[in-house]
Structure formats: C-alpha cells, structure tokens
Amino acid sequence: MNIPREKLLMMYERMLKIREFEDRVRVLFAEGELPGFVHLYLGEEAVAVGACAPLNDDDYITSTHRGHGHIIAKGGELDRMMAELYGRATGYNKGKGGSMHIAYPKLGILGANGIVSAGIPIATGAAMSAKVRKSGQVAVCFFGDGASNEGTFHESLNIASAYSLPIVYVCENNLYAVSTRQSRVRKIEDIADRSIGYGMPGVVVDGNDVVAVFEACKEAVDRARSGAGPTLVECKTYRWRAHFEGEVDTYRPPEEVEAWIKREPIAPYEKLLVQQGIASEAELKAIKDAVIKEMEEAVEFARKSPFPAPETALEDVWA
C-alpha cells in the first residue's frame, strides 16, 4: 500500500462525508423536507472515493442519478450540495438542478444526470477536449451496471479507444437496475469483459475495498494521462437502500441486503488505517466529529437559505 498518508486520510474523510450526507438525506426526505426524489449512494462509498482519489481538482467526472457520492468524492461541499437538494438559491446550481443535476465545473464535476448512461459520452467529450487542448486532464466516468446495456456505453468506449482518449470508465455494478437483477437481462457475469470488444483493458475490483478501487483506478488514470488510452474498471458493490427513497424494495432478498451491509466499506478501512499505523483511533474520531459538525452546518445552511426568486426562473436558458 504505497499511498501517501494524506490521501489515505482524505479517502477516509470523504467516505464518511458520503455516509453522513446520505444518511441525513434519507431522514430529511422521509420527514418531507426535500422536494422531488433522491437516490442514495449508501454502501457504495468506496467506489466514488477510490476512483476520485487519483484525480486532480481540474480532472473531470461525470456522474449519475445516484450522484451525491461522486460529487463529494470529487470535493463537493456539503452545504452547497444540501442547499441544492433543498432547492435553494445558494445551492451549487441555484436550485435549478436538484439532486439529479448537481454540477460544479470548477472541480471538474460535469453533472449528475437524470438520464441513465448520458454521462458516458459527455465524459468522453471532456476527455476529447482535454486531448485537443493538450491540457493533461483526465476524465472519470461513473455509471451503473444497468447503464452498461445502453448504446451510449458501446459508442463511447469504442470512440475513446479509437482515439486513445484520457478517460477511465468506472462501472458501479451493484447487481440491480431498479428492480431488475442484472443476471436476468445480461448473460455475462463481468461487465469488464466488454472491454475486449473495444481493445481496451478491463479490470474487476471489489468495490467495497477503497484501497483496491484506488489502486485499480490510479493505474488506469496514469495510463490515461500518459496517452495510452482508456480503461474499463468494474467495481462490484451494492446499494443498501431501495432504488430511490420512498420505493418499497420487494425485489431483493433481505439476506442479500444484509450480507452486503455487513461487508460495508468504512469499518474495515478504519481498522486498516489503525493497524497500519496511519492514524490513531483518536485521530479518526476527530475526523469523524468534524464531518458530523460539517453535516449539521450544511443542513442549517440549506434550511436558512432562500428559495430562488421567481424572476430568476428564465435566467440561464441562453448565453
């Protein structure tokens, strides 16, 4: 494990932030405080964090409907995110976006997306842009197992491979697309095998092991940045909650859910950090306390923020 201490602790902090944020969203949504609908990332924290950790601030990501985790992993601030979920003017996107449309280009975040698989060509375009501008930037594209059955996946991976674009495709295989267990609509076990059809490397990693994700993605990011082209990284993981909050999950065996919750990514990582002498329990607790405090403040910030003024409704349509 040849990873700088700072990075290791940053990964810990960001996983915690995701966990706290999502858990709070769960409660707030149930209490009717949040409009619209939300898809939680609980249980998949290690994927976003491991994949974003090798990136620079100006590297790009595209995200999905289940986007909070990716945005936090890329450095998104909890307060402005929460304000966006509340539909407030102080949100990252002035309340125009909401949970499924948070973007923050300053951190390379090109948007969560309400359309499954739509981020794939967009990330590919960001990678093409980086290549044309010779900027040295890399793009990481998050998408689900469900999204890998869309045509965008195929077209984009082929294009990225043909032009050796600086991009890493990170498939979050959580076994389901809404209610549909993927084995019912796809004959292959590993989505990573599809990389063969594009002549790019494909890797399978344990998506609940943040170090494993980091290492696989670091290699892929380095490869991308060096001009050697894209990689498909498949992370096996699981979502704890129903597809969206409020959905009744009748389609997954409770034993399966429980087994995966037992395999959650943060506690073992905590143990690892302590065992390897990276941080003491007290140090980790301090991080956790700070996250909890930040979370409290984020909710307060959002609640106190004004709704966007109606007269702003027609702004931002045109340049």
Partner: protein, 325 residues
C-alpha cells in the same frame, strides 16, 4: 358507477386486451414482478407470465426497435417507457422506422405498436423528468398521439390504441395516475380523433388536454362566477385532432384560448391556433391566446417550477385577454 384510479384503468385495459388477443405482448423496464414504475402493469406478469410481460434491460433504442420488428411480424407490442423524457433515445425507431415502414414498403405490412410513456411536471422532478414531447410526434405522419385526462378515457383509448394497426404514442400524465374516476365494468373503447367537450359554454373556447384539462375545468368554474361561460374541449388525441369540434366551438364562442403544459414554439397550441386562423378566422372576435410553459427547461426548485409551468391564473387571464376585459 365503479371508481378506478387512472393507473388501474390502464392496467385493466392491458389485461383485457391481453386476454382478448394472444399476440398482445408487453415489454419495458421493471414492468414484470415489480409492476411498472407507476403500477400500471401490476398483476400482469402473474397472470400472463414472463413470455408476454417482459422485463428489458435499460436499452430504449434496442427494445423499442425490437417492438418495431415484432409489430411488423404478427405481435402487438405495448411498450412502457418509465418516463417519456428519454423517448429521445428511441426516436429513430419511432420516427424513421415504425412511422414510415408501412408507407415506404407500399402498404405490405402493419405496425400495431403502442408506446406508453408518462409525461409532465408539477412534481419537482427537474429538467429531465418533466418533459412532454407530444408535439414532436404529432408532426410525423404515421403516428397517432393519445393524451387521456381521465381514468375512463385512459382505459378506452388504450384499448383502441392496442387494436390500432398504426404506431400509437400513448402519453400518460404523471399527475393523473393517482386520480380516481368512473370506469364501467362493461367493455368499451373510445375512437381516436374525437375530442370531449368537458364543459359547454358560449363565451370562449378553451382547447386543452391531459392534466391541463383538470386545471382548465377548475378555471372554468371560477370564470363562471365572474359571469364568463367557457367551453372546455379536451382533445384526448392530439393526432388525429378533432378539427370539427374545435372549429364548431370557435364558431359559436368567437374566442379561443389554448392551454397546454409545455413549451409554445411549434407545439400543439401552435397547431390549434393555426387551424383556427386558417379555417375560422372570420369568426374570431378577439386574438387567439395561448397558455403554455415559459421558455425554459423545467426547473427543480418549487419556487421556480411554479413560475415556468402554467398556472391556473394564466388560463384565467388568457380568457380575459381574448375577451378584451
């Protein structure tokens, strides 16, 4: 009479047609054991089995295209899209293939394809889950476009759609799934191209459809209190459009308002206005007034969505405007 929810009425139409005709086959995402994102297909997988109620992967172009090939070869596919927003993905299969195949091929095959898709906003669902694209499909020859506003219509029109040998896009407004209405036990169908006069009136014609029908009726009550007697026409199908009823009504009231949820340019509201300007211009005693969404994607925040989508007050004001009050 028996009351059903709009989504139940749709499910009943599907079940009845599947019993009547073994070639009626459903596919879409999560329509099997899950019963569909809006509960329309609940119970159908249990009754008809997975050979006729098929869960597909997330691959809209592929499974709608599969519908085109199946419809051309003796199956009546009824395909559910979870939201109509991503009907953008299978456009090719609908517009260049399904809509044209009979014609291009000189009439030697049929295209009994139905695509069901929820439309509409007022749900804080944001820019990619609040679209309504009925105008696009009305533009294309070979496609019929259905926009029911009541459980009764939903059932009767869906049965007609399934029996129709043309491509039918069947738009269900999300705000309507949970409304209840009378649906008789007896079998019935509703012909396409017949608008419903939801309220007779003599002072102004308001042409509308889908969820705006409910809102327009509520406005009509308020107008009545102000002494204005509005005739409310619910198109039910925007293609074919019931030109006769629209023109007759305008010839009677001499005033036209068109109320539609989504954007104005090149839309159903444009077409209704153009129709009247072409064929009944002389009867008009005031300008045609359109009530539509404002020119912006549908925003997430409640305070903004309210501003972009039409308000009941907008319809009220439009009536005053055409009446010159």
């Amino acid at each position: 009479m028996r009351q059903l929810f709009y989504n139940q009425a749709l499910g009943e139409a599907l079940a009845e047609e599947m019993r009547r005709d073994k070639t009626v086959t459903l596919w879409g995402i999560d329509i099997g054991p899950y019963g569909g994102a809006n509960g329309v297909t609940k119970g159908l997988w249990e009754e008809f089995g997975e050979a006729r109620v098929i869960d597909t992967p997330v691959a809209e172009l592929g499974y709608v295209g599969m519908g085109v090939g199946a419809a051309a070869t003796g199956i009546r596919p009824v395909i559910e899209l979870q939201f109509s927003d991503w009907i953008t993905l299978p456009m090719e299969m609908i517009v260049n293939q399904a809509a044209k195949m009979r014609y291009m091929f000189g009439g030697i095959l049929e295209m009994p394809l139905v695509i069901r898709a929820p439309i509409g906003g007022y749900l804080n669902a944001g820019a990619q889950h609040s679209n309504s694209f009925e105008s696009w499909f009305a533009f294309v020859p070979g496609i019929k476009v259905v926009v029911p506003s009541t459980p009764y219509d939903a059932k009767g029109l869906l049965k007609t759609a399934i029996r129709d040998n043309n491509t039918v896009i069947f738009f269900e407004h999300k705000k309507l799934y949970g409304i209840k209405g009378e649906v008789p036990e007896e079998e019935y169908t509703i012909p396409f191209g017949e608008a419903a006069i939801r309220r007779e009136g003599k002072d102004v014609t308001i042409v509308t459809y889908a969820y705006q029908t409910l809102r327009t009726l509520s406005v009509a009550e308020k107008l009545a209190k102000a002494g204005i007697d509005a005739e409310v026409i619910d198109l039910r199908t925007v293609k074919p459009m019931d030109e006769t009823r629209i023109l007759e009504s305008v010839k009677k009231t001499h005033h036209l308002v068109v109320a539609q949820e989504i954007w104005k340019t090149c839309s159903v509201s444009s077409e209704v206005a153009a129709l009247v300007a072409e064929q009944a211009l002389d009867y008009l005693d005031g300008p045609i007034v359109r009530v539509t969404a404002k020119e912006a994607p549908v925003p997430f925040s409640p305070s903004l969505e309210e501003e972009v989508l039409p308000k009941e007050q907008d319809i009220y004001d439009a009536v005053l405007k055409t009446l010159g009050r």
